[in-house]
C-alpha cells in the first residue's frame, strides 16, 4: 500500500548540500508492522516526515494506496494526512489546553464530521485505549503512558489506513513502554498498517519486519535474516550491533 521509489531529499544551505535520503526504495504491504531503525542522522526522521507528507522530497515517486502523491498541494496532503495517516510522537504532542476528548477530536474537526459523529468516534477511540473514563481530564493530569495512549486514540479516531509512530516509547519507562507496544500490536492485528521508528532494538524485534536506514538508504533486515546477505549489509549489521 505504501511504495517509495528512488526518493531522494537534499537539504541545501549556502555552504553545503546534505543528502538526507538517497535513492530510497521501500514497499510496505497492507497490514504490516514495520520497525525502522538506524543511527542518529541516518535519515529516519526525514523518511518519517516524507512518509507522513509533512515534508516534500527532491526526486522520486511516492505511491500511497496506488496513488502517486508526489508533489501534492498543501491542501491535498493535509486531507491525506487527516484521512489516511495517524501520527504518534515520542513527546506525545498532546495540546495541553485541550482535554482528552478535545485532543482526540482535533483530526475529526478538520475532517468536518458532525458533532454527533465526532462524539461517537472520540468515545470509541478512548474506549479502545482504556481511557474513556478520563475524557474530561487535561493531558498534564496523566502519566506519560496514559498520554501516549491518548495520542494513539487521537491517531485512531479518524480510522487511518496506517500509523506512523516516531519513538512512541522513547519517553516512557519499560512497563509503560510494554503496554503501549501491546496496544500498537493489537491495533496492527485489527488491520492497521504501522510504521514505527525506534532506537530500541528489542522493540524493533517485536515487529514483523525491520528496516534499517543508513546514510539515507534502506537496508531490509528481513532479507538479511532470511539469509540473503551481502558484504554491505553485513558490515552495517556489525556497525549497528557495535552502536
Amino acid at each position: 500500500m505504501l511504495s517509495m521509489k528512488n526518493i531522494s531529499k537534499v537539504f541545501k544551505t549556502d555552504l553545503v548540500e546534505t543528502h538526507a535520503l538517497r535513492d530510497f526504495n521501500l514497499e510496505v504491504n497492507e497490514g504490516e508492522f514495520v520497525a525502522v531503525t538506524g543511527p542518529s542522522g541516518s535519515g529516519k526522521t526525514t523518511f518519517l516526515n516524507i512518509a507522513g507528507l509533512l515534508e516534500g522530497f527532491t526526486h522520486g515517486d511516492y505511491f500511497l494506496d496506488g496513488v502517486n502523491i508526489s508533489n501534492l498541494s498543501d491542501n491535498k496532503s493535509a486531507v491525506i494526512r487527516n484521512e489516511k495517516i495517524g501520527f504518534i510522537f515520542q513527546g506525545f504532542n498532546l495540546i495541553s489546553d485541550l482535554n482528552l476528548a478535545e485532543n482526540v477530536e482535533v483530526p475529526l474537526r478538520y475532517r468536518g464530521f458532525s458533532a454527533k459523529e465526532r462524539k461517537v468516534r472520540v468515545e470509541r477511540a478512548l474506549e479502545q485505549v482504556g481511557l474513556a473514563a478520563r475524557m474530561k481530564h487535561l493531558p498534564t493530569q496523566l502519566s506519560g503512558g496514559q498520554q501516549q495512549r491518548v495520542a494513539i486514540a487521537r491517531a485512531l479516531a479518524g480510522e487511518p489506513r496506517f500509523l506512523l509512530a516516531d519513538e512512541p516509547t522513547g519517553n516512557l519507562d519499560s512497563l509503560m513502554a510494554r503496554q503501549v507496544m501491546e496496544l500498537l500490536e493489537d491495533i496492527n492485528k485489527a488491520g492497521t498498517t504501522i510504521i514505527m521508528v525506534t532506537h530500541d532494538a528489542e522493540l524493533a524485534r517485536r515487529a514483523q519486519r525491520n528496516i534499517q536506514i543508513v546514510d539515507g538508504q534502506v537496508c531490509d533486515f528481513t532479507m538479511y535474516q532470511s539469509g540473503q546477505t551481502d558484504n554491505k549489509t553485513q558490515s552495517i549489521a556489525d556497525a549497528v550491533s557495535v552502536a
Partner: protein
Amino acid sequence: MFFYYLDLAWRSIKKTPFLSLLMVLAISIGIGITITTLNVYKMASINPAGERSSQLFAVQLMSQDNNFWETINEQITYQDAYNLSKSKVPVRQAAMFRTGLAVQTEDVNVSPILESVRVTEGDFFALFDVPFAYGGRWDKLVDEEGGYKVVINEELNQEVFGGGDSVGKTLLLNRKPYQVVGVIEKWNPSPKYYDVNNGAFNDSARVYVPFSLAPIEEYESWGNNQSWRHEDIRTYQDRLNSEMHWLQYWVELDTPAKKQEYQQWLAAYVEQQKLIGRFKRADAHGEISDVAQWLNFNNVVPEDNKVLVGLSVLFLVVCLVNMLGLLLAKFLKRAPEVGVRRAIGASRLQIFSQHIVEVGLIGFCGGALGLLWAWAALYFLSSKFELEASLAQLDQSMWVIAPVIAVSAAIIAGIYPAWRICSTNPSVYLKSQ
C-alpha cells in the same frame, strides 16, 4: 469550523491574559482615539441637506474693485439680492440675514426676550424643507409688499403661547404686532449650512420674519458685514444702497439644465453690471455652489480636525504594529501545537483561518472597548470644553464603523503572523527535545 476557531481563540486569549489584555488595550486605545476624532470630524462634515444637497445653491459674486481682496465674497449686497430676485430661472430663491428682536406677547406680565431672528423670504421654508406643525409660509404678496407676518418654532410657541395651534395669534417684535402664520417643528440642520457666518453649529433661529420688512423696520444685521471700501453709512437706506456684503442668497435649481441656465443668467447679470460701471474688475463674475461645495468653501470642518484624524490614524497604525509584534511572538511560541495540528490533517488555510479568527476576536474586543473609550473621551471633552451637542454625541454609524475598523485593522496586523505560523514546516516542532 468558525465556531471551533472562535472557541480555540477564546482559550488562547484566556491562556495568556496579560498579553491578550495588552493587545486589546492597544487596539482599543487606537480605536478610541480614531473614533473620537473621526466622530467630531464626521459630525462637523455632515451634509445636512441630504438629497437636496445638489439642488440648492449659494450665490456668490466677485464684485469688489481691483486692489482689494482676491477671493470671492461669501455674501452679497442688498442691491444684488434685489436684482437676483428678478430672475425667473430658479424654482425657489430666498435672500436672508440674521437679526435680533425683542419678543413679547400681548401679556404685559411676560418680560421681553431677545431672540435671534432670521429675516428671509417665504420660499425659505420650502427651499430648506422646513417642516410645519401648524400653518405655513406667508403669502407671496407679503414678500412683495411687506406685511407683519411671523413664523415661529414649536419651542418658542410653547414658551410664549403654551403650545398648540397658534396660527392667527399676535406676537410683539420690538413692540410691533406680527401675526403668526406658521409654527415649524424642531428643525436644526447641523452644520447650519444656509448661514455659516454665525457659528455653523449654533441652533437655528426660533423666529422668521419677511425680508420685505427690512427697509421698513430697519432690522440690524447680526452677522458679518463686509465692506471692501469706505462708505459713509449713516441711515438704513445708505446700507441698502451700499456695496457692503451682508446677505446670504440661496436658489433651488432642480435639474442640470436649470443650473446651466442660471449660470448663464448670472453671467449675463454680471456683464450688465459691468456695463453700467458698478462692477469694475475685469474678472468680476458670479458663482454658485451646492451645499457640499459651500460647506467646503467655508471650511466648516476646521483644519485641526483633519490634522487630528490624520494623527489618530497614524496612532492606530502604531497600535497595530505593536500588536503585530506581540502576535508574532505569541503565535511563534505556539508553533509546536500548530505542528501537531498540521500533522493530523490541518491544512495551511485552516491554521491561517484559526489564527485570523483569533486576531479578529481580539480586534472585536478592542473595537468594543475602543467605542467605550471614544464615548468617555467625547463625554469628557464635551463637558470640559462645552462642545456643541451636535458634535459631541457619538454618531450611530460609529457603532458599526468602530468594530469594522477594529476587526479589519487587527486582521491586517494579524495576516503576517498568521502567515508565518501557517507556513512553518510542522515536522520541525514534532521531535521533542
